[in-house]
Symmetry: C2
DNA sequence: AAGTGGTCTAGACCACTGA
DNA sequence: CAGTGGTCTAGACCACTTG
């Protein structure tokens, strides 16, 4: 509620949310039109729209033109995670950052990598393997494939100075990004670089990015034992 | 661009984004006021606002009243993940779902659990341990603590019929949720329930939720080997 | 073809916060 | 206390989609 007695979109959201919780609007069911809700709750339609968008972003409802608004029958816990540039991650924890380039090569991507892009003919790629160190201790091992066709400037970058991770994040906007998180058995070489026993399962992030339909990069980042991904604390200031 | 030649907020967003990429607006630097950008790009201030909100949601810029808009000096890859109700997760993969309640008890939370809520005196809690099965195979082991003070109705729920997971998601809206993702060594009992060797590290999700300041639940969910968390594919339809 | 959500505009006022 | 972003309103029109 604002100072002059008008309803804020948060109020409207909370009221609609309340009706979903108390089953006034049941899972799978259709809500009234925005305009009708606006009239009932005495606010502008755009305010209802703002509230609805918030609920839709949280995955509680689904909206379709002409189809109307329906309550998601299977609510989810939606959380957002920030994956920082590795150097920043390490420095923000108070460690000294070092970056060790292991090797690079230009080859055709093997099928399992091309498949990540959903495109069997993804062309020649630059493969970069590198180790990120925190206070001289291994922290993240990364095995990266970069499309030479989509990112041709990459040949001019000196990866001794800047990590591929940082260069790409800063210079290559992507329009699509897939992230997968898993605990994986690590391979021989990964184990060696991270100084862990071979059989150990560690936290792995696999990330694939595209610009439009063009593949940019796929990276497998194997994290040091004990690493935790932490969600952005989403506070929905409940009244 | 809309049919009648007006700029859509996506156009505006892409133009501003472009200026961040090409260093017209540099990391850490201040952008012009919304109103000035609106004049320059010939659109309404609210359209600029809409574009700015999108960029802020993606973590590219930071906005403050009076302080203005600044380019985030350390961009991140922001991704959202949906954690479904476990029954839905299993069924949507085509397996038969079963739920096995292991045990429940009402006790004061130990310090390590109370600490998750940031509150040493979180009161008496209900601890529930349960196993979720997919086609009769162990899938997720969950060790859950529920605040009896905040969720008093919980005593009336029959956890043979509905899992605590599902009941809470459907009936207890939360205003804050912390999620942590890690690959953890599993404990003796967890290993036994999941039929994995004791030393194995598996994917673990720890979730803590509050309603306002009141703790609701903390759960540690240990996932079957091979489990992958997959991000919502964010498509930023690039032009 | 018609209905519903999505967006844009213009203007007013609020609320936070940095100087 | 003044400046900037945040929100609300009313109205018009667009665009998607379903019947």
């Amino acid at each position: 509620m604002t100072a002059d007695g008008r309803q804020s979109w948060r109020d409207i959201r909370d009221q609609i949310h309340g009706r979903i919780i108390d089953s006034t609007y049941r899972p799978g069911e259709k809500l009234p039109r925005d305009e009708d809700i606006a009239q009932e709750l005495k606010c502008a339609r755009s305010t209802v729209h703002r509230a609805m968008r918030s609920l839709a972003e949280d995955g509680l409802i689904e909206r379709r033109r002409k189809g109307g608004t329906t309550v998601n029958p299977d609510p989810v816990t939606r959380t957002t995670i920030d994956i920082p540039i590795t150097r920043i991650d390490i420095e923000s924890r108070g460690y000294a950052y070092h970056h060790h380039l292991i090797d690079t090569m230009e080859i055709e991507a093997p099928h399992r990598i091309a498949a990540k892009f959903g495109n069997p003919s993804s062309g020649p790629m630059l493969r970069i393997r590198a180790l990120h160190l925190a206070d001289a201790q291994p922290y993240i091992f990364e095995d990266r494939w970069i499309s030479l066709r989509s990112v041709s400037e990459i040949s001019d970058v000196d990866f001794q100075t800047v990590s591929a991770n940082e260069w790409l994040v800063r210079n290559r906007p992507f329009s699509r990004c897939d992230v997968q998180i898993l605990a994986d058995d690590i391979f021989d070489d990964e184990a060696a670089y991270l100084e862990e026993p071979v059989a150990t399962a560690l936290l792995v992030l696999e990330r694939t990015t595209w610009a439009g339909d063009a593949p940019i990069t796929h990276v497998r980042a194997v994290h040091k034992r004990g690493y935790r991904l932490v969600s952005n604390s989403t506070v929905h200031d409940a009244t």
